[in-house]
Symmetry: C2
């Protein structure tokens, strides 16, 4: 498997990443191809699709061993499920699958065609193996039954952040930051109201605590 | 990438294969895992999902070179489109993506867990890289816009086959054979009413001609 491209996003680590694609529409990505794959002809017709599939490498989860069961964060991290019943990164082949919205293709002078996408669940720098058009007639099954994911309550948090803190982040990033926070970016087997969690988004370190369904932001600092 | 399983289906070659998954519900597959992946624990919870993703190898399309454009059969085979705007097997990484219906899991004594699926578009013996649960909340986009595939007329053929010929095929396979034929299993840049085409399904060689939107079966013979 050859790495054909890498995606750049505002999330440099797994902390703060939504658990699947499409959950936070505002997370944008720019897919830049390796030199060998920059021929604009290879993208002819792609701009007419609204969504694309990304096949990518769980680059932080490549391991030689795999475990038959995993503990999905969605189940609170204390119940074991078969690895093939989950989208866990820790699987025999470290390959991820995400559908994202194709916003536009930029044809640049220095990097060739760059795909601008949204609704990402990929870390900055994630290697991409393949891009495929999303075909609703074969890929979309709105009534598919989702096993253990089906009956889970939606776990959105209320987000409490002062205007003073939020104003440190560029205006165009604020709604997305709120959306990321409402998705509960804690490792979900943790529930310690005293604990301060943190992650980096768009160059800002965001620190917060969670108590009784309310996430309170305690600091936002520019780090890079 | 490790091969974790192989699928067995009734179609031993690419001829007769539907162009995507789900188009012919009756095409069944049995996914048998390599010994290393037969631990039933790895499948715990999977039986509660109605659909699964298969990531698989286009085993007959592995090549060292790739072409930036391809000529999709759906467009009659005479119009070039960028390879990343298609699901063509001839791409930089020979990896396919199909959603199939999970009918049941059989826990066998000799081969471990066997996944019984339907709606397949895979050749008999195709190597499988990964199995993932289908999650409608992230994977299903019924309104996604499908580029050049969007405006194509549905090209179903009327199928003319005598009762005498059809009765050679086991009763349980007849409706599926009809469905495969109605999908027009010709290489679609060909339109020669004189020509006899053929493929093998469920051990029977099926030969046919197509004229004016009618597919006429000329022979059905048991071959293996």
């Amino acid at each position: 498997m050859k790495i054909i491209a890498r995606i750049s996003t505002d999330l440099p680590s797994k902390f703060g990443l939504p658990r699947q694609s499409g959950l936070v529409e505002g997370i944008e990505g720019r897919i830049v191809f390796e030199e060998e794959y920059r021929n604009p002809e290879a993208f002819r017709g792609l701009e007419d699709f609204s969504h694309i599939w990304l096949l990518w490498q769980f680059s932080e989860a490549v391991r030689d061993v795999w475990s038959p069961t995993v503990r999905p964060p969605m189940l609170g991290g204390n119940k074991r499920v078969g690895v093939f019943a989950t989208r866990s990164p820790f699987r025999p082949n470290s390959i991820g699958l995400s559908s994202v919205k194709l916003e536009r293709i930029e044809f640049t002078a220095d990097k060739g065609p760059v795909l601008c996408v949204s609704g990402c669940d990929l870390m900055d720098g994630t290697p991409i193996y393949d891009i495929k058009p999303y075909l609703a007639y074969t890929d979309s099954h709105p009534d598919a039954v989702g096993g253990f994911t089906q009956s889970l309550p939606e776990r959105k948090l209320n987000v409490d952040v002062s205007d003073e803190l939020l104003s440190r982040v560029p205006e165009s990033k604020r709604a997305t930051l709120r959306a990321i926070l409402s998705q509960d970016p804690r490792p979900s087997y943790q529930n310690d109201p005293e604990r301060i969690y943190g992650f980096v988004y768009a160059g800002f370190e965001v620190r917060f605590a969670v108590c009784d369904g309310v996430l309170t932001v305690v600091s936002i600092d520019f780090v890079s």
